[in-house]
Amino acid sequence: MNLHGVRAIYHFELSRWFRTLGQSIAAPVISTSLYFIVFGAAIGARMGQVEGVSFGAFIVPGLVMLTLLTESISNASFGIHMPRFSGTIYEVLSAPVSAFEVVLGYVGAAATKSVLLGLLILATARLFVPYTIAHPFLMVIFLVLTAVTFCLFGFIIGIWADGFEKLQVIPVLVVTPLAFLGGSFYSISMLPPVWQKVALLNPVVYLVSGFRWSFFETADVGVGVSLAMMGLFLTLCLAAIWWIFRTGYRLKS
């Protein structure tokens, strides 16, 4: 195991983030605050309670997930796309690092950022609404698992994309809609029965539901199902990455 190599990549990625720490933190904090001002305070005041939880508190887990998904994908995809674009990837390809170590460095760094951001948003949200976390340990597990899974997904997108436009396509066209429709701001039990069935096809529903359960012990689907679905998605991403490195897809000609 080339630990120096993993550390070099990890450190490189985090220092890239720290160079632009201001904007990296400001953007999600500002957008979260806006959500709370609009949904929590302005609309939420008239919404009353959802499944026994005030609307302001109810949307906290969904908002964290929303940011976690988009930030994980954009950070991780950019992290691996940039060296491909600039050509500096030659060095990683010629180095004595295994595929696992490369992924550990890049995805580990991106997931670290995502988890820190998630915690930051939780802290920001606390300024707007009081909420309690019923199962803090499980909450952290969901946070880390989601961060890792979606950073892996982002890594795949960063390798697949052959330009910066494509880098944006999946997050904007797929992930954001799924995240919004995935019950971030409502319980899917509020939907008409047919749409409840359709919603179950959306993987984000399981993330948000499980994550929310760790806060309020209310869920659209069972926690076990949530964890299983996350495990499934994680496995799919790992398989895709294994294939990428085995074939050199988009990395080696």
Partner: protein, 314 residues
């Protein structure tokens, strides 16, 4: 090609066909000796970068094997790659990183523990120590190239690949690069460089390999190749153009040139007999007449061009 006793790099039957269907390497056999400076000489598109990039792990090999210090570059890639430093042909650097950070990154990436004293030594070696805290994007092209060299040296490799190290580099920098390469060789580093400048190969290399159309045409000591500089040519202006060499002359070092109006005979001026008398007799027997003749020394350039022509014909 004779087999080396203990080659540091050994390439056997290496082929490469790109996804486009283009075959860039057609069965390369090559051995690099420990501690030598080896120049891979060939025109653009010959396959030099492809060969280097396969050895270094950037391009997937087709068929064949590459051993680096006895380690297969695919199976034992860790051990093989640890030994290698690479400066690729194109200039690829980060923009916002500081010089010393990017060199330290390379060292770590190749599995070496941090060593600030060694990083300083490398940066001094490439005359970048006073730029150690500069962001890479503020450096000139020549400096960026030296940053890449420092990165390649950061993990103390025993083999250094330089893919066209002096392309687009001014004369002074080129001299500096050559001095540095010689110093590295003196420290025991094996150096493989590619170039399409004959002078560069001639000046730098212990041995030269000539590559074209994905095939190694010739590998020889630079001294031996230079001796061929001592070869001379007899050029005969013919009375009547020839469509082809008569079969009776096939055994002689003869070539037809100038649309068949000229016969070029190569001979070794340093040896005893030149064979010119025999040639003239053979020509007479064939009824080939000439109106003028001249001798001249052939240059390495001519040898090179001749080889490439041969390659193009075959």
């Amino acid at each position: 090609m004779s087999s080396e006793v203990d080659p540091i790099i050994s390439v056997r039957g290496l082929t490469k066909t790109y996804a486009t269907g283009f075959q860039a390497l057609r069965g390369i056999d090559l051995e690099i000796r420990r501690g030598e400076i080896f120049a891979l000489l060939g025109p653009n598109g010959a396959g030099k970068s492809t060969l280097i990039n396969i050895i270094c792990g950037i391009v997937n090999p087709g068929t064949g094997t590459v051993l680096v210090d006895g380690h297969d570059v695919v199976r034992d890639y860790r051990l093989a790659r640890q030994a290698i430093g690479l400066v690729p042909q194109e200039l690829h650097t980060d923009m916002f990183e500081r010089v010393r950070d990017t060199v330290a990154f390379s060292r770590g990436l190749f599995g070496r523990p941090p060593d600030t004293a060694f990083i300083e030594r490398v940066l001094r070696q490439v005359s970048l120590w006073d730029k150690r805290d500069a962001k890479i994007m503020t450096l000139s092209g020549g400096m960026k190239r030296r940053v890449m060299l420092a990165k390649a040296l950061a993990h103390e490799p025993r083999i250094l690949f330089l893919d066209e190290p002096t392309a687009g580099v001014d004369v002074e920098l080129r001299r500096g690069m050559w001095d540095l390469v010689r110093n590295l060789r003196a420290e025991g580093v094996t150096i493989i460089l590619t170039t399409h400048y004959i002078e560069e190969a001639e000046e730098m290399a212990d041995r030269i390999g000539i590559i074209n159309h994905g095939e190694i045409r010739l590998v020889d000591d630079t001294a031996a190749l230079l001796q061929k500089l001592g070869r001379r040519e007899l050029r005969l202006q013919l009375q009547q153009p020839l469509a082809a060499l008569p079969p009776a002359l096939a055994g002689l070092p003869l070539q037809l040139a100038g649309d068949g109006n000229e016969l070029v005979y190569a001979f070794d001026a340093s040896g005893g007999g030149t064979g010119i008398a025999g040639l003239l007799a053979a020509l007479q027997a064939q009824g080939i007449e000439f109106r003028d003749l001249a001798t001249r020394e052939s240059s390495l350039e001519d040898i090179f061009v001749g080889l490439l022509r041969e390659g193009a014909r075959s």
